[in-house]
């Protein structure tokens, strides 16, 4: 048991959706289903701040139901559905639509509302209406809010509502037409680059806007050493910043693009090896609030396009935990850090913890205390396995990890008190 206060070997009883008992040794009540977690880590199930579930509008790639299947396999009890669907989630009605679809899915689904109407970066979306439906995170992800005046107003407004804005930091003009990191490799490959500066200038801008407005800002998928350093410095100065990193950014570098395989095309792009190293070091030091997947399903034909025309994005939900375990040093991985970045940190950012009294959701990222909602994961750090793209549980196959040897696997997931994954399979 990886509780907030320490690690202990114990039995835990879930009854009627809550942690009913926890003790070094419990008897098995009549009719109870036993999950043997010997040698495994039991902790709060994971929370993903950043999943593109594609519904409505992109059902060929993923649906809320199929995305939730992948999430359950990945050990998640809650995912935040990003707003860049078709249409964008920019109204209370669309929030209700996603929440109602999510209520029937295997894991809990929270919603990130759009910051601006249609994610066009011009006029503010009805944030108060959406917040009244339980939205706590707002983002135009897919794009950053380009106009600093719009972003400043969005942050002022969000601060007044007590909600957080989440930014995809890339200056659209600096990265225009680009399809990989700008540098020696893009230069040789003749691919238009997306410079690191395109991300860093917007991080810098938004830190200053947050400092001035007092708003809470969350930085999505930071990919460069410098972006992280700026956020860490701002946090130290008392600016209300949080940040996430995505598994592909801390496991793969730009050299993966050398053969023009669109499977490795993401925004922001895979960066230099030294950026990957900086992200991993920041994870180990606890400077990152969350690992977030940026799970971005695409149908197979879209990855048969030329590199510059192919859509950006890779799958993330099923492999994030194992990749995080690896990045935190495998056998050296500190289990507290592991659950901090995969569960407690993101739950705090999304405000879906027990103590947040989230109006629409149960408590996630908990401490395994009796009385908490049962959102739990059993992670087996000793499991060794190989990724097979034909053995995925969502609708799409665009994983960049096919054939990769992994350490650590989710054995069981309990979401909303229900055992949704047992023995590594959907129940």
């Amino acid at each position: 048991m990886i509780g907030k206060d320490g690690v202990e070997q114990a039995d835990l009883l879930v009854r009627e959706g809550v942690v009913a008992d926890r003790a070094p040794s419990l008897g098995v009540p009549v009719g109870a289903h036993v999950v043997d977690a010997t040698g495994c880590w039991v902790g709060p199930a994971f929370v993903d701040l950043h999943a593109h579930l594609r519904e409505p509008g992109g059902e060929a790639a993923e649906t809320i139901e199929s995305g939730a299947r992948a999430a359950a396999i990945g050990g998640y009890s809650l995912v935040v559905a990003m707003a860049n669907t078709e249409p964008a989630i920019d109204s209370a009605a669309l929030v209700e639509y996603v929440l109602s679809r999510g209520s029937r899915a295997r894991v809990e689904v929270a919603v990130a509302g759009a910051i601006t109407v249609g994610r066009r970066g011009e006029s503010l979306a009805p944030m108060a209406e959406m917040a009244a439906r339980g939205v706590r995170l707002f983002s135009d992800d897919g794009d950053g809010v380009q106009d600093p005046a719009v972003m400043r107003r969005a942050m002022l407004y969000a601060a007044g509502l007590g909600v957080r804005v989440a930014e995809h930091c890339e200056d659209a003009r600096l990265v225009a037409g680009g399809s990989m990191n700008e540098g020696a490799l893009s230069s040789r490959l003749g691919l238009v680059g997306r410079p690191a500066m395109g991300e860093e200038l917007m991080v810098l801008r938004d830190i200053e806007l947050a400092r001035w407005t007092g708003a809470a800002i969350h930085f999505l998928h930071l990919s460069t050493a410098r972006s992280l350093a700026m956020v860490v410095a701002a946090r130290r100065e008392g600016v209300n910043v949080t940040c996430e990193v995505a598994p592909h950014h801390f496991t793969l570098d730009e050299s993966a693009c050398a053969d023009f395989d669109p499977l490795y095309k993401v925004n922001p792009p895979l960066r230099r090896a030294q950026d990957v190293a900086a992200l991993r070091a920041a994870l180990v030091r606890g400077e990152v609030d969350a690992v977030a997947t940026d799970h971005a399903p695409h149908p197979p034909e879209s990855k048969d396009l030329p590199f510059d025309e192919a859509p950006a994005g890779v799958l993330g939900l099923e492999h994030a935990a194992a990749l995080t375990y690896e990045a935190l040093g495998s056998e050296q991985c500190d289990p507290h850090r592991f659950f901090d970045v995969l569960s407690r940190g993101p739950a705090r950012v999304a405000r879906v913890r027990h103590e947040d009294f989230y109006p629409r959701h149960g408590g996630h990222g908990g401490a395994l205390h009796v009385g908490e909602d049962a959102n739990l994961v059993v992670f087996d750090p000793s499991s060794r396995w190989v990724v097979d793209r034909d053995d995925l549980h969502g609708r799409s196959r665009n994983t960049p990890y096919h054939g990769r040897a992994m350490r650590g696997r989710v054995r069981a997931t309990i979401a909303r008190g229900v055992l949704v994954v047992d023995e590594g399979e959907l129940t």
Partner: protein, 328 residues
């Protein structure tokens, strides 16, 4: 690294060793002779099928490749997809699968996207892929024919056959490439060809037209164009597309001519035996003064003439190495 093009794809000149490039240049020398005959045809690729698949129109390059294939007696399937239904967003895999179903030995591919030839080579591993220009990435046969033109000209001056010189004439040769290097697949292939052959490559351009982190390229970056010109043995000019000279990358084409155009005045700085190359089509009056383009030092027409024998050499080497009964 590819040491011989036999049976191999030609996707990126950076993949080819010095030996592989010399092998192509030598084979091209032997095909020059074929092109001088009354019957300009050899049966080398009889019964083989070469598809030319141009997603981006280039009549010159397409005709050069198709002529080369026909002179080797190959059957040519010409598919000008640039004007057909294949538009942005269509799967590269589907298009190539349709053509592959017709039964082809090689495909000559031109595409507006960098890397398209490499991607196609993964979809049809049994077909030889010849890159006829992919986006800003590579134009390997242009790099080869530029090197071929330079070697032939220098060997003629010495009164020896090009094939007898191997790569010797490139040793220490100063090649200056001028202009829009950032957006030029020709520049990338030229740099690969000349450096593999042992030349010293220099580049010169307004900083906005130099590729990102050009310092990592195996070239010297010359800031003073006039000075660089006076030390160059070979000057390779690049085309400046009008849209790039209209205030986006440089303020105007006129200003480009002022700073980096090969004007008549500047041409006086050239060494007496310097050579001038341009992949065409030239913007006379922009990157090169019309009178300079017509100087004896200008090899532009020889470059065009080199196209067919060099492409014959590439097709021949690439296809004959592949398994098909009677040739083995």
């Amino acid at each position: 690294m590819i040491d011989s093009l036999r049976g191999q794809n030609l996707l990126d000149l950076g993949d080819l060793s010095r030996d592989a490039i010399v092998e192509v240049l030598d084979a091209a020398e032997s095909f020059v002779e074929v092109n001088r005959r009354t019957v300009k045809k050899v049966p080398a690729l009889k019964g083989r099928v070469v598809a030319s698949l141009f997603f981006e129109e280039s009549t010159r390059t397409r005709l050069s490749f198709e002529t080369a294939a026909k002179r080797l007696s190959a059957d040519v399937l010409s598919l000008a997809v640039a004007s057909s239904s294949v538009k942005k967003g269509e799967s590269l895999r589907d298009t190539i699968a349709t053509i592959d179903a017709l039964g082809i030995d090689a495909v000559v591919l031109r595409h507006r996207s960098s890397g398209a030839a490499r991607q196609v080579s993964r979809y049809v591993p049994h077909v030889r892929v010849i890159n006829a220009g992919d986006g800003l990435h590579q134009h390997p046969t242009q790099g080869l024919l530029d090197a071929f033109t330079v070697r032939r000209t220098l060997s003629e001056r010495r009164g020896v056959s090009g094939a007898s010189t191997g790569a010797d004439l490139f040793d220490g040769l100063h090649v200056l490439i001028v202009g829009d290097i950032m957006h030029s697949r020709v520049a990338r292939s030229d740099v690969d060809a000349y450096t593999a052959l042992g030349a010293q490559v220099h580049v010169c351009a307004p900083a906005t037209l130099l590729p990102a982190e050009v310092a990592t390229w195996p070239v010297t970056i010359d800031e003073d164009f006039d000075d660089a010109l006076s030390r160059a043995d070979v000057v390779g000019l690049l085309r400046l597309q009008h849209e790039r000279g209209s205030g986006v990358f440089v303020p105007s084409t006129a200003e480009y001519t002022m700073t980096h155009g090969l004007t008549l005045d500047r041409a006086r700085r050239l060494k007496p035996d310097a050579l001038i190359l341009h992949p065409g089509p030239m913007n006379r009056g922009v990157e090169v003064d019309s009178r300079v383009a017509d100087l004896p030092a200008s090899l532009v027409t020889r470059q065009v003439a080199s196209g067919v024998p060099v492409r014959m050499a590439v097709l021949f080497l690439s296809i004959v190495g592949t398994a098909k009964g009677e040739d083995q």
